[in-house]
């Protein structure tokens, strides 16, 4: 049972009033809340200002302290001198160490006063020395430390809190400028947050402080080993706190315990965390428990580059916040009571107002939802209202329509238009109004005009509204029937297309019974329409396709709604035909199959042609025989066209002939004579010319002769003598000098070929043309390949391939005849300069000219070849003995040196010749002969160019021996035939062994133990020396490890070749070798570098040697005195020991010059704080004299000869320690 409308209305108004009261209460609450929030914010802002001012004040205080440090410790002579020295790359390491020593006491004092970091930087921003982390330096800080960048670019002091790679701190940076105004870098003093905190605490004793650092920024900068010093802030991982476990003494004390729940609550408020992350000063309240309200204050901490590094957060219990909350409660509750009284009064006043509104609303909804146009008119036929549908149809708004006469505005009655067009005619009365005034209903189709002038057809139903028996107005409904009318017109058009289309159309019902067919269907199949109606299309079935074919067709139709494909059907007369068929399924609105529509096109002829084209294409694709291609083309074309004869002629304008190439004769006419032959072009000139000029086909019939054939009388030959009823000529592969002609003859008269046939012939002829072109191009290509393979394209001379072939033939011929021949290798001098100066085109023409002149020197039977670039070879056959052959070489030199004129330039080059003779004492082949001549030519180049050189057999042997020697060493290395001998090095003062030098020996299986002098020269500057050097290092490390295992600690030095040292992977291989022998310590190995090797590339060598030292190895400079012995080089080379070459030591006792050199080297070593070791200590006298000169370390036969590793242990054990 529904409730009474009055009750419902009252309830509704009650809700409305309650909502209004609630809104007002909320607004009041909002106002008071805003005011309260302002008060709270003001309180917080006061706290925040105090914090910001205090923070600024203590930073200023710290700055003053640090300035005194700078003046006291940095701006003083010793510090400045060391920093000046550090500008020199050669002195930087020493300067760093000295500065560390010099300022360590000062740093200790500053730490006692609260300083955390003391850091020098180079002008480029590299860390120079961290007193707080002395092991780390050299890293560039410009990208991570804005303060360092500013101090070293703007050269002004910089102050600010900043994070760093080790820890954060309040930084004070000073650029360092010496008295000459040179920028030496910068220095940084950093105070820990604790130092600042203590000052803050003094100013704001009630507050607790915490420094939050931005997590990502801090993590990115830190050294890896420092990452553990930082932990995520418990409230958010976006911030880090430094040293929460207080691992460092200078870290601030922990926060009071009361603050921890506060931070936990902060973690539950993502919005507050987000405010902190924005980096602006923030102040907000937070409740730790139900009694205590805290103010949380945060100000951003920025580095000198104005980048934000984190937030300084202060926590303080604020009682003023509780007082403000109480005041808010009192004001809000009072206001709400007053509002409640007002709301009750309003409820009773307003609840009656809703009834009228609901009635009006109902009527409007009906009109608005009506699916037809509707308008109401008054007694004066003026529109009172119109529904939205009517407005939409007519294109007028409600405002446009109201008050207007519909007849004047949009009625479009036929008689109204015709009357309007009549001159002076009066407008007839509106038929609708007439009916209505008569109190009758009007129902009729008519037209209305839209606001934009377009007319549309409507069905109008209008009824009068009678009030007290008199006409008070009318209701008019109208329906747009325009689209329905257009649909009817479209149906008529479709029927017309159906009947007149070229394609056959069959329409069936859902059970495949034929409903309708068009005229084209009857034309193609032969079945009249009335014979097929009601029957199944199966009546057309040719029987060619299996049952499965039709089953699949129906399945596709059922599932996809459409089938398309080629199908063979049968006409009423029994003939089969191919058709291209498309069947479409038509569905009704419910998705059920309503009918099928089949559209088909007869494609029998196209299919036949396509098969013929496929057959032709298939045959000629793999065919390279012209005859076969033409036979295939003629046969298939002739058969497909039903011709009696098909021929291909070649029209040859050069020979003025028509040449029969191939003919196909229809087997149905076995007695038909052949037309193959060679005919003069004049016989058919007119027809041939016609096709050449027009580039088109020609058709002629006995009863309709083509004009081009009648002009020269050839028609009489063709039609009368040969009895040809119809002929069809088609030209293809048309060229300047002729073309091919396809000819088809019929004995009876035939219709002109239609478009299909012509397209078929064109395609077949095109295929044949392609095949003929392919064969022609292949033949040309083979000829070109032959030319390229054996001849130089530029000069046309034989190339190297052909030369070698001819040379072999010439050698065989020379041997057979017992003659002598000469091979000359010729290389132009100065050709590159011509190429570089005048370009390659000029150079190429010069080469052609030279080739031409050299050809002039040749005799009959001689051969000139171009080997490439500016190199030629000449083979002189049957030459006299060598001396008598020299004029031939001289002629070649003269020919090559002849001036060459090119674009107004006179170019001149010369030639270097190398020659050898054949036969020789030892058997040689053609390649060797050419190589000998090349080698001789190289000698000619070396001895001054523009000359000849005859091949030297002895020199060639020497080269081969060297090569063979290298191969022997390579095999010896693989077979492990090398061993290391060790020569002890001792302190000659007491005879103590300080190490041994590893010296390589070759245990040759046949020649015994060979010293290095025998085999090392063979591989000088050869990559093999690197492999051998690697082996030496590996063997020495293995030996040191073995000795260590027996308790013998004996450092070993090995010699390193310059080539080995220059290898990019030298350090990597050395590290890997050390890793393979963990028992050996790097200090067990010393590398000896020849003085001359070290000086080859002092910069690169110094870099490599420093890397060697970084691995922990020692370095010695070997054979010192044999090189430049430059002071500056010696200073730069990072070696610990200098080994004096034994040549000075050996003769020192007799030769005053050597003695003087020796003294000089020893003094030099002392000056540069290097150890010095004398090699070649052969006698006790040498030893004694060296000790007198101040050289205590020695090595030589007087001490011990090099010995196998096994002997070293016993030698050391039995050695009596005492002066050597």
């Amino acid at each position: 049972m529904t409730k009474a409308p009055a009750v419902l209305r009252r309830r509704r108004w009650g809700w409305a009033l309650a909502s209004a009261w609630l809104l007002a209460a909320l607004m009041a609450l909002g106002l008071f809340w805003v005011e309260h929030a302002k008060s709270v914010q003001a309180l917080l802002e006061r706290n925040l200002s105090t914090l910001a001012i205090s923070w600024q004040a203590i930073q200023a205080l710290q700055r003053n302290t640090v300035v005194t440090y700078f003046e006291e410790y940095v701006e003083q002579p010793r510090t400045m001198a060391l920093l000046q020295a550090a500008q020199d790359p050669a002195q930087i390491d020493a300067a760093r160490l000295q500065l560390f020593r010099h300022l360590s006491p000062a740093y200790a004092r500053m730490v006692e006063r609260g300083l955390r970091q003391f850091h020098f930087h180079r002008p480029n921003g590299d860390s120079f020395l961290r007193f707080h982390h002395p092991a780390r330096f050299g890293d560039n800080l410009l990208a991570v430390r804005a303060s360092i960048r500013i101090a070293n670019t703007e050269l002004e002091p910089v102050f600010g809190f900043e994070v760093g790679r080790v820890v954060s701190g309040y930084r004070s940076l000073f650029p360092i400028i010496d008295e000459q105004g040179r920028h030496l870098g910068s220095v940084e003093f950093s105070l820990p947050f604790k130092a600042l905190l203590e000052e803050l605490q003094a100013l704001m004793p009630r507050h607790a402080f915490q420094l939050l650092l931005h997590q990502q920024r801090q993590r990115d900068i830190l050294f890896d080993e420092q990452q553990g010093l930082y932990a995520a802030w418990p409230a958010s991982a976006a911030f880090l706190i430094e040293d929460p476990h207080r691992l460092r003494a200078d870290s601030p004390p922990p926060l009071p315990a009361a603050i921890e729940p506060l931070i936990a609550r902060l973690g539950e408020r993502p919005a507050l965390i987000e405010r902190l992350r924005q980096g602006q000063p923030q102040a907000f309240r937070l409740r730790a428990d139900h009694r205590h309200h805290y103010a949380v204050l945060a100000i951003p901490v920025r580095d000198p580059g104005d980048a934000e590094v984190g937030m300084l957060v202060a926590y303080v219990a604020e009682p003023g916040l509780s007082a403000l909350d109480r005041a808010l409660l009192v004001r809000v509750s009072g206001t709400w009571l007053a509002l409640l009284v007002v709301a009750l009064v309003l409820f009773f006043l307003l609840r009656a107002l809703d009834e009228k509104l609901s009635e009006r609303h109902r009527l409007k909804v009906i009109a608005d939802t009506l699916g037809q146009g509707l308008y109401l008119t008054d007694a004066e036929h003026r529109i009172v209202t119109a529904n939205p549908y009517a407005q939409d149809l007519l294109g007028y708004s409600d405002r446009d329509l109201v008050g207007q006469s519909p007849h004047e505005l949009f009625h479009h009655h036929e008689n109204k238009e015709s009357a309007g067009m009549a001159v002076g005619g009066t407008e007839p009365p509106c038929p609708i109004i007439q009916k209505l005034r008569a109190g009758q209903e009007y129902r009729k189709e008519t037209a209305f005009r839209r606001a934009d002038g377009d007319c549309f057809e409507v069905l109008v139903v209008a009824r009068p509204l009678m009030q007290n028996g008199s006409f008070a107005g009318a209701v008019t409904l109208f329906e747009n029937i325009h689209e329905r009318k257009q649909a009817e017109a479209r149906l008529q058009l479709a029927a017309s297309v159906f009947e007149h289309t070229h394609e056959g159309i069959v329409i069936t019902d859902a059970q495949a019974k034929i409903i309708d067919v068009n005229a084209a269907f009857t034309r193609i199949t032969g079945y009249p329409r009335e014979d097929v109606l009601g029957r199944n299309p199966h009546l057309l079935n040719s029987g060619r396709h299996p049952k499965a074919f039709y089953q699949q067709m129906w399945q596709i139709l059922q599932t996809q709604g459409r089938w398309s494909g080629e199908i063979w059907n049968r006409r009423q007369n029994g003939a089969e035909y191919a058709e291209l068929l498309t069947i479409s399924t038509v569905y009704d609105a419910a998705g059920q199959i309503q009918r099928y529509i089949a559209v088909f096109l007869d494609i029998s002829a196209q299919k036949k042609h396509r098969q013929a084209i496929d057959a032709i294409a298939q045959t000629i694709a793999a065919e390279y025989n012209v005859e076969s291609i033409l036979a295939t083309t003629c046969k298939h074309l002739g058969e497909a066209l039903g011709a009696d004869r098909a021929l291909v002629y070649e029209i040859d304008f050069k020979q003025q002939l028509i040449i029969g190439l191939h003919e196909w004769l229809n087997p149905a006419h076995p007695n038909m004579p052949s037309s193959i032959g060679r005919y003069p072009l004049a016989t058919f000139r007119s027809g041939v010319t016609y096709m050449r000029q027009q580039r088109t086909w020609l058709v002629s019939h006995a009863n309709a002769i083509h004009p081009a054939l009648s002009a020269d009388g050839s028609a009489a030959i063709l039609h009368e003598q040969m009895h040809i009823g119809s002929l069809f000529w088609y030209p293809f592969s048309v060229r300047e000098d002729g073309y091919h002609l396809l000819v088809f003859n019929w004995l009876t008269t035939q219709p002109v070929p239609d478009e299909n046939q012509l397209g078929f012939i064109t395609s077949a002829a095109g295929l044949a043309e392609l095949a003929l072109n392919k064969i022609r191009m292949l033949e040309q290509h083979q000829q070109q390949l032959q030319q390229i393979a054996h001849f130089d394209t530029l000069t046309g001379l034989p190339n190297r391939v052909l030369l070698i072939d001819r040379l072999r033939q010439a050698m065989a011929q020379t041997s057979r005849r017992g003659e002598r021949m000469a091979v000359v290798y010729l290389d132009l001098d100065g050709f590159k300069a011509v190429n570089d100066t005048h370009g390659h085109e000029v150079g190429d023409r010069l080469l052609v000219g030279v080739a031409k002149r050299l050809t002039g020197v040749l005799r009959e039977g001689d051969l000139l070849a171009r080997l490439g670039g500016d190199e030629f070879a000449v083979v002189f056959m049957d030459v006299p003995p060598l001396e008598a052959s020299l004029p031939l070489l001289q002629q070649l030199l003269l020919a090559a040196a002849e001036p060459h004129h090119e674009q107004g330039l006179q170019l001149q080059v010369s030639a270097s010749l190398g020659a050898c003779l054949y036969p020789q004492t030892e058997p040689v082949d053609a390649d060797q002969l050419l190589r000998q001549a090349d080698q001789a030519m190289y000698q000619a180049k070396l001895t001054g160019k523009n000359r000849y050189h005859l091949f030297d057999d002895a020199y060639d042997r020497q080269l081969r021996e060297r090569h063979e020697g290298r191969e022997c060493i390579r095999h010896a290395l693989a077979r492990q035939e090398f061993v290391l001998y060790y020569q002890p090095k001792v302190d000659m003062r007491d005879g103590r062994v300080i190490g041994a030098e590893a010296l390589i020996r070759w245990q040759h299986p046949e020649r015994g133990v060979l010293p290095p002098g025998v085999f090392l020269p063979l591989i000088a500057n050869d990559p093999l020396i690197v492999a051998l050097g690697d082996w030496v290092i590996e063997a020495a490390l293995a030996q040191v490890s073995a000795w260590r295992a027996t308790g013998l600690v004996l450092p070993v030095s090995v010699n390193v070749d310059a080539l080995q040292l220059a290898q990019a992977d030298f350090i990597a291989k050395l590290s890997a070798a050390l890793a393979r022998y963990p028992q050996a310590h790097p200090s067990d190995l010393e590398l000896e570098v020849l003085e001359t090797s070290a000086l080859e590339d002092i910069v690169a060598v110094t870099k490599t040697l420093r890397a060697v030292q970084a691995l922990g190895l020692s370095l010695a400079l070997d054979d010192f005195g044999t090189g430049y012995s430059s002071l500056s080089y010696l200073k730069r080379l990072p070696v610990e020991t200098i080994k004096i070459d034994q040549s000075f030591v050996r003769d020192m006792l007799d030769d005053p010059d050597d003695l003087a050199i020796l003294e000089g080297i020893i003094s030099l070593a002392a000056a540069f704080r290097r150890q010095v070791l004398a090699e070649g200590v052969e006698t006790a006298a040498h030893s004694k004299r060296l000790l007198q000169l101040g050289c205590s370390l020695g090595q030589g036969y007087a001490i011990a000869r090099p010995m196998p590793a096994d002997d070293i242990s016993s030698w050391c054990a039995t050695r009596r320690v005492g002066p050597a």
């Binding site: 002395p134 092991a135 691992l247």
Partner: protein, 289 residues
Amino acid sequence: MARFARAVTALCFILLPSAGSSATESTAEPALVYAPLPLENPSLTQARNQPLADLLAQLLQRPLEMRLYPDHAALLDAITGGAVDLTELGPLPFLLARESMPHLQALATFREADGRTDYRCVLVAPVDGMRALFQVAGHEQPLTLALTRRESTCGPTASFWLLAEHGIIPTAVQATYQGGHDEVALAVLRESFMLGGAKETLALNFHGLGLRVLAASEPVPGFVLAANTERLGVETFDALQAALLALPEDQLALLQNGRHGFAAFERRLFERIEAMRAFAADWLDQVAP
């Protein structure tokens, strides 16, 4: 992983009877004591070792208390007094403790960052100072030497041994303890001493600043995790040892101390330490505190 699972199962099996006999007994069982190696900062010691202590408690299924001692001497006293059940010790302190507490057995050796279970001690000098030890060998001239601390393996024990290996008799050596390895390196660089003795990996950090290695010892064994077998029981000891040696990567990743893994204890490496110690014993008293 399978080995670790087997070891943990074995541990549970061994520990179950005591846990299952009586709930009251189980809860009343006194906590084991783990004493880590004392570092300068107790907080740091605590932080470095807490994950390892948690792991040991988990493996043993017994409460484990971590007890911190101010220095090596106090730790050794506690061990010999039987107050410690599990501890981390350097090779030399381990030898010292073993002499008074025979039940102290090595569970495993801590691996170094490079995976090794041994390391070297070196003698270092500034790059512009002494260039080679043979320069002073055989000469009784005053030589100042910075050392870490008395109980440190790379302290007097290895340093005096290395000097002797290079023909230097420590008679005239004036040695002083500096505390940590970094302090030794920095003192040598400041030229407060001619030589210093330190662990090789730590000394090499200062190569760039000018510190040079003059001599290196044979490898000495790494730090040891040791346990009192009397308190732990041999079966529990063996099972714990197996579990530690088979710790999977994900467990190791949770540790700080011990995060490079554990290796089986090798007794033979300690023979070298014993020889060094025997040699250095005569000279310990001449080191200034």
